[in-house]
């Protein structure tokens, strides 16, 4: 039976119901149309290059400097500190990188936490969101309500989320400790302060938001999937579980890739929940927060923060490239 189902899926994919993949031919573009295309692209491309790519590349450049963000940059080596301030705006070579790896205690914990974050998202938060989507997509009663409730966290502001979870986790006055009777000074469970617990506590918050986001994206993918496939499989006697795994899931490969990339990126960019909790210290170090602490803020070790940013950038480039490769291979296949 399994093979039948797969065949059905393949057939459907090839069936004439799906639109032709061939790109329509408009013939050669007239000169006026070429001008129009250029006009259409000019502003967005300029904005993207000037405000996103330009600064990103400049940050790579900055990561080789020691710079407080004040004054200009000079292409010369750094001198040892003389007066009140260390030498500023000078080249340190790879010093920022080696300092980060060897002389910055939060660095390795941050890398570790980013990895944990990623693992939890991949094995728990994202599948949970997908599960929600699948269940809702099966059209159970009140799906609109579940969908809205689960999506709610995505829409709330950072400040509100911070306050909500403070109410939930506060050691002496919070919801959890009060209900479980752990709110006395002798038996406190210090959810956000205990470095053994707080990452997990914050990951609950993160899952709370991520699952809703994934659910919506996945729901969109499911809605777009050809319903005749599922009907076919269901009629064939496959139960819901089998239908999903053997029919729906494989046909959703493109959206699965999108979800995977979103998941990876969200875990690498994870920032705000930790930042509002304790500015990413004491067990909650994350790379993005370290970048922020060094770049934005009085501290202003711009060069050092940029180096941390470049590390983050390089790590993000891995999933970005995989994604782009997959995405364009698919297009090339057409």
């Amino acid at each position: 039976m399994a093979s039948t189902v797969t065949d059905a899926a393949d057939d459907a994919a090839k069936s004439p119901v799906t639109p032709r993949r061939r790109r329509y031919r408009v013939g050669r573009l007239s000169r006026r149309e070429i001008l129009l295309v250029l006009l259409m692209l000019a502003v967005p491309i300029l904005a993207d290059l000037a405000f996103v790519w330009g600064p990103a590349i400049a940050s790579v450049f900055l990561s080789f400097f020691r710079w407080s963000g004040v004054g200009g940059l000079e292409l010369r080596g750094c001198r040892p500190a003389g007066g009140l301030l260390p030498d500023n705006g000078c080249l340190t070579g790879g010093d920022n990188y080696s300092q980060a790896a060897t002389n910055y205690p939060p660095f390795w914990p941050a890398v570790e936490h980013n990895v944990i974050w990623l693992v939890v998202f991949i094995v728990f938060a994202t599948p949970l969101g997908m599960l929600f989507a699948v269940v809702i997509d099966r059209g159970i009663k009140g799906s609109r309500i579940y969908q809205s409730a689960l999506f709610l966290p995505v829409m709330l502001s950072l400040a509100l989320i911070g306050i909500m979870w403070e109410f939930v986790y506060s050691p002496n006055y919070g919801l959890i400790n009060t209900i479980t009777g752990h709110n006395q000074n002798g038996n406190l469970v210090d959810w956000l302060g205990d470095p053994k617990l707080n990452l997990w506590a914050v990951l609950v918050e993160a899952t709370w938001r991520q699952a809703g986001y994934v659910m919506v994206l996945y729901l969109a993918g499911l809605k777009a999937a050809d319903p005749s496939l599922r009907e076919a499989a269901t009629v064939d006697g496959a139960n819901a579980w089998q239908t999903f795994w053997r029919v729906t899931f494989p046909t959703l490969r493109p959206i699965n890739i999108v979800i995977l990339v979103v998941t990876v990126i969200e875990s690498l960019r994870a920032f705000d929940l930790v930042y509002i909790t304790n500015r990413g210290s004491n067990g909650l170090e994350l790379l993005s927060v370290l970048v922020t602490n060094n770049i934005v803020g009085e501290t202003s070790r711009i060069g050092f923060g940029s180096a941390l940013g470049v590390v983050l950038l390089v790590i993000s480039l891995v999933p970005i490239s995989i994604f782009l490769y997959q995405n364009f291979k698919r297009k090339a296949d057409r």
């Binding site: 032709r20 996103v52 770049i295």
Partner: protein, 299 residues
């Protein structure tokens, strides 16, 4: 083959189906309760006077419920003023992002030019960069770009609402180009061929043909963009230096006193601030899901 399968007798699996149903309901109802508990609890705290919760704790039965915190949050933080700032930032930013993204997406999806893969990479990858990585050079850049005074009284892109709109547009373009181009690909090419035969020019094919078809995707993106741009705090605090020109998220920060914080009041304020995004969601909800056909298998 499909029809052949359909004629097979359906095996009797009623008990199994029922169990699945029940499990589904248990899961969804349970998850919904867990998901909204923090929200409902915060709502509850925001309705209680500070004096009461500071005495009894947050988890206690109410002696009195009041909208006082809401009234105070509204007046004390001058919220209306900041709301209008947020509108002045979010509305143009969302409209411009959607407009520019749709232009690029149209070219990428429906105009056969060589560079469209490069374009898509440029925009999609750009969207994935962390904000923090680009802020320092961006800030310097903003101090260098002159603006006419009717758009920015500092004469610079820095510290102007126009500048804030610009970075939000630039930063969100990538995701929107990606989603919209995927969506536009689902429009059958035959329609365009027919349009060309009818003598429709490039602009007509974009504006008259593609855009109306993209309405669901635009609605979905509008919802997400509104949420993201409206809730943004990072660009607002780094690129705007006049406090009264920042969006409503900073009004919230103003309420979070650096020392003594009245959490009930802040909760009330945060609830008020959440209302506009909820309204946008409710208004666009119907089109929201159908519009987000990312990487649709039908395309």
């Amino acid at each position: 083959m499909t029809t052949a399968l359909a004629t097979k007798p359906t095996p009797v699996r009623v008990p199994r189906v029922r169990l699945g149903r029940i499990l589904s309901y248990v899961l969804m109802i349970g998850a919904t309760i867990v998901w909204i508990t923090p929200i409902v609890f915060t709502l509850y705290v925001s309705l209680r006077p500070y004096s009461e919760t500071s005495k009894l704790g947050y988890v206690s039965l109410p002696r009195s419920l009041t909208l006082d915190n809401y009234r105070q949050a509204w007046t004390q933080s001058d919220m209306l003023h900041f709301f209008l700032n947020s509108v002045a930032i979010t509305v143009p930013a969302v409209i411009l992002t959607l407009f520019f993204a749709s232009l690029v997406a149209f070219v990428v999806a429906k105009v056969n030019i060589k560079i469209n893969v490069v374009l898509l990479i440029l925009f999609t990858a750009g969207n994935l960069l962390p904000q923090q990585v680009i802020i320092t050079p961006l800030y310097r850049l903003y101090l260098l770009i002159p603006m006419p005074t009717f758009l920015s009284d500092s004469g610079l892109l820095y510290n102007s609402i126009a500048g804030l709109v610009a970075i939000n547009v630039a930063f969100q373009l990538g995701f929107c180009v990606f989603v919209l181009s995927n969506f536009m690909r689902t429009v059958p090419d035959e329609m365009y061929e027919a349009a060309v035969v009818d003598g429709a020019g490039l602009w007509t094919r974009y504006w008259r043909l593609t855009m109306p078809l993209c309405r669901p995707a635009l609605a979905a993106l509008a919802t997400l963009l509104t949420t993201w741009i409206y809730n943004d705090f990072f660009w607002a605090i780094t690129l705007i230096e006049t406090g009264s020109r920042r969006p409503v998220t900073s009004a919230l920060a103003n309420l979070q006193g650096q020392f003594v914080s009245n959490q009930n009041l802040i909760a009330a304020a945060a609830m008020i601030v959440a209302i506009p995004t909820l309204v946008v969601y409710v208004l666009l909800q119907r089109q929201f899901i159908s519009g987000l056909t990312l990487g649709s298998t039908k395309g």
